[in-house]
Amino acid sequence: MNKIIITVVGKDTVGIIAKVCTYLAESQVNILDISQTIVQEFFNMMMIVDMEKSLKPFEQMSADLEKIGQDIGVRIKCQREEIFTKMHRI
């Protein structure tokens, strides 16, 4: 497993999840978990994905998703899972 956390933050609009999921499906990236919430009209989404069989390297996926985010007016960030597990799990 090569787990990556994708976070999406921005103004809520139609099709945010669809766009991200389409990209991930095309790149053979498996989604393990999705959660989302709206805080003060701001859309917050977190995805845990597995890049084990990904067709694209991490740097490219990160840059592509950032670009997709810019097109629909949200911020998309990809980070390796360890930064969160190290900080929040003993």
Partner: protein
């Protein structure tokens, strides 16, 4: 599995509370570069540094990208040059050629600072040590990225007052040599007591002789994160306050530990230590002074400041120790004046004095740091301030340091702009009574007794 609140908390720390890894510092031993021929020595030093640190900056950038956490500085520390260069350097001018080589190597490696233009003279000075110390003013004037440090005392050996006196003169000479840049050279010069071998922070970093051939040390940061966490604990008692600081320090340090392990793995160089210091920057919200004010002081420098700082420093260590396998370096809250907006404000409004800063250094690392004083301050007064600070370190078995900038042509009421992470500082007044006869006695202050503690 991770939940969304944990992910949001981490990213808020990075995006809004200025959580970052302050530095990945690669320590490189130059002991195997020794040569009696100066040109050959310079070539060996340049080759060793550039070869060992070739991938340091690119690896640091890749780690920052992968984890989404900024790594602000990539730096290098080397074996004290008085040791590595002593064989070939017979004059201060010879040592300056090595400083130039180090500067060139730092630029080639892409690091913003390289530390280790240093001498360890806590008990006595060899001819090479003295030549290196005498070369410091010119070396710092003709180079851009080289940092220098001199260890003038320790708890085990006492204080080398000849070296203290000499350093008073050298700080003044460095200020003169760089007066066109507001005496900036002094910002790259630290005088230590009990200097650690594995400090990743500049300007005092050097690669001690007890270290391996190459090593990765990491300095974390996060005053902003601690400050925001404490905002949630307003009005609570000390138990809650301390728990909050510990938990936050744990989280911050874990990020440093992760980055250090990754850097070590990717570069194929052993991991040394994490330095737990809370390191501020001039940016608003990245200040140790603001933490102390959040704890309950109207301004840093008010009565209670020393106690608040002692508690903060201790809790940061308690939280950080559990988060990392190896802790070292300076590991304490930094209280530089020019690099901390809250400190600058407190000095500007008269709340914080040099004497109070000295008291604060008794309970935290690292010492009188980045303090601008009048350019007319005499070398003997500088030596007296160094002696006071070193005595605190010697008696209390801790690291202390002095990084003072006597700004030539400026006086109390003026402000000095150093730029970037070095920030700006109001010129602070210094006690004008003389200690000339004291510091010029010559010889050593003996090591202190280790019993009858009072």
């Amino acid at each position: 599995m991770l939940n969304m609140f944990e992910v949001i908390e981490t990213n808020n720390m990075i995006e809004h509370e200025k959580l970052d890894v302050r530095t990945i510092t690669m320590g490189i031993s130059l002991l195997d570069c020794c040569d009696s021929d100066l040109a050959a020595l310079n070539e060996k030093i340049y080759n060793k540094i550039t070869a060992t640190a070739r991938d340091l900056v690119s690896t640091g950038e890749a780690i920052a990208r992968d984890f989404g956490v900024p790594i602000v500085n990539k730096r290098i520390s080397v074996t004290p040059i008085a040791l590595a260069g002593g064989c070939a350097c017979k004059t201060p001018e010879d040592f300056v050629t090595i400083a130039k080589t180090l500067d060139k190597a730092a630029k080639e490696a892409g690091v913003n600072f390289l530390g280790g233009y240093s001498a360890l003279v806590s008990k006595g000075m060899t001819k090479a040590d003295e030549n290196l110390i005498r070369s410091i003013p010119e070396a710092l004037a003709v180079t851009e990225r080289v940092c220098s440090s001199v260890n003038v005392g320790s708890t085990k050996t006492g204080l080398n007052m000849d070296a203290v006196n000499l350093m008073g003169q050298m700080i003044k000479a460095t200020a003169e040599a760089t007066k066109d840049q507001d005496s900036l050279g002094c910002a790259k010069l630290v005088v230590f007591c009990n200097a650690p071998d594995d400090n990743p922070f500049m300007a005092g970093a050097f690669h001690g002789v007890t270290e391996a051939d190459a090593i990765i040390n990491v300095g974390v940061s996060g005053p902003g994160v601690v400050k925001v966490a404490l905002e949630q604990a307003r009005g609570e008692n000390f138990e809650v306050l301390c728990e909050t600081i510990k938990k936050t320090a744990f989280k911050i340090t874990r990020v440093g530990q992760l980055v250090a392990q990754e850097a070590s793995r990717r570069l194929g160089i052993p991991f040394g230590i994490i330095d737990l210091s809370l390191a501020p920057t001039p940016a608003v919200g990245d200040s140790v002074a603001e933490i102390l004010e959040e704890i309950g002081l109207e301004r840093v420098g008010a009565p209670g400041t020393t106690a608040a700082l002692a508690m903060l420093n201790d809790q940061v260590k308690k939280g950080g120790i559990m988060a990392s396998s190896y802790v070292g370096g300076l590991s304490g809250a930094f209280i530089p004046v020019s690099e901390d907006q809250g400190m600058i404000d407190a000095v500007s409004m008269g709340a914080l004095t040099l004497e109070k800063l000295e008291a604060m250094t008794c309970v935290c690392s690292v010492g009188l740091d980045m303090i601008a004083i009048p350019g007319s301050t005499s070398p003997s007064t500088l030596a007296g301030i160094i002696a006071d600070e070193a005595a605190i370190g010697m008696i209390n078995q801790k690291t202390t340091a002095v990084r003072l900038i006597p700004v030539i042509g400026k006086d109390v009421g003026d402000t000095v702009e150093f730029g970037g992470l070095l920030g700006y500082a109001p010129v602070m007044p210094v006690n004008s009574y003389s200690c000339e006869k004291f510091v010029s006695r010559g010889g050593r202050i003996p090591a202190p007794i280790h019993s009858f503690k009072n």
